[in-house]
Each structure stands twice: as C-alpha cells, then as structure tokens.
Chain length 120, copies 2
C-alpha cells in the first residue's frame, strides 16, 4: 500500500467520496481529531461515505450517527447502536450517502451499492 | 504466552478475579458470547474485574456499564460513555469491584489499585 498524502496535506473538500476500510486502523484513526474531522465533512455535506468491517467505528466519534442506519463488524455493532444509529445485520446498508457492510464476505454487495451511489 | 485452558474448559465461578489485558484481542473476544458471559459473572457477583487499554470494550457487551465509572484507551472512551458509563480521563479508576486504566503508562497506578482490591 502506497500512501499518496498525509492527513495534513489534504482537505476533505478536495475529495468526492471517502472509503474507510476495516482492520484495526479505524481504532487508531478515530483517536485523532484530524481524521474524525475529515470523516465529518462527508457526513455534513452528504458526500459518499463508504465503510466496511471496523470502518464505521470512525463515524462514532463524529457524534452524527443518531438517526442514521448502518451496519458493521459484529463486535462494533453495540457501539454503533449506543451511538444512536439503527443497526442492521445485513450484507450492505445504504442510508442516503452512507454505505456500510459487515465483513469482506459482503464485498460484492458493498461494491455494487457503492458503485451505484458513486454513479448516481 | 501459554494458554492453560480454553473458554469451554472453565467456569467463571471457579475464579476469584478477572484481568482483561488490552491490544486487539478484546475486539475479538467481545464478538463471542462465551467470553462476554464470563465477564458478566464478575460484574454480577461484584468480584474483582481489572481491565486496561482496550480491555474495557468487553464490558460494553454485558450491557451493565450504566451507572458505573470507568476509563479506557482514548479511542474507546466514546463507546464506554455511549454504553452508559461515566468515563474519566485518569490513570486509574476504581468503581467498587471494577478497576480500569487507559494505557501501559498507567500500569503502576493500575497495579497498585488492583492489588489493593485483591488484598481487601
């Protein structure tokens, strides 16, 4: 994986969409306000925000999950629910500009709905 | 690290105390009800429950953090708060039978309070 730019070199408004992969990096990213603010921009401006597995953890720190519908890796679903979201156990959940999935097994559905949103 | 026994070989009632270390294992353990039920026993029975860094994540799944006071690694503090806990940014928090700390840097305070509880 080649990192093109650091968080201090970019502005969220320069991007049309944000994809947050899973693994354990979201846990570290959400401890840093620079990344949380970057995510927040896509929620605030209704721009495509695609997150899978542990990726939705980053949305918790924005405090803007109330009233939204999402899914995520099984271990973090109580956190998403406690943050105010409606949480579904489905292969992909589309809530306007936010597309979320649970695991790599959901990738076909996640890709399909993400592309549909990006092409709309 | 040598694992003495698997979760299916033990009963929580056979133990006097539980220590949950951090890292990323709590994320996996809390996705499995066998481990969550094991943790739940120590909360229900007011037995010493010591957790540091990401360890307190396991307490979220018990649904019994409401009214309790804890701390934990910075990234999971919103999750603890959303689960109903009062969350403090202190090196160690003692709430009756539950002792929690934030990071390995807090270990001296965590060890001190854990030993105090175990010896009481």
């Amino acid at each position: 994986m080649t990192i093109d730019k650091g968080i201090d070199d970019v502005q969220a408004s320069d991007f049309d969409a944000l994809f947050i992969p899973g693994g354990f990096s979201p846990d570290q990213l959400r401890a840093d306000d620079r990344f949380v603010n970057f995510v927040d921009y896509f929620i605030e401006n209704d721009k495509p925000l695609l997150a899978i597995c542990h990726g939705p953890q980053l949305l918790i720190q924005t405090n803007k999950l109330k009233g939204r519908t999402v899914t995520g890796f099984t271990s973090i679903r109580p956190d998403l629910k406690n943050a105010g979201a409606t949480v579904k156990d489905e292969e992909v959940v589309v809530d306007r500009n936010i597309v979320t999935s649970r695991t790599p097994d959901d990738l076909p559905a996640f890709d399909r709905e993400s592309l549909k949103l990006l092409q709309s």
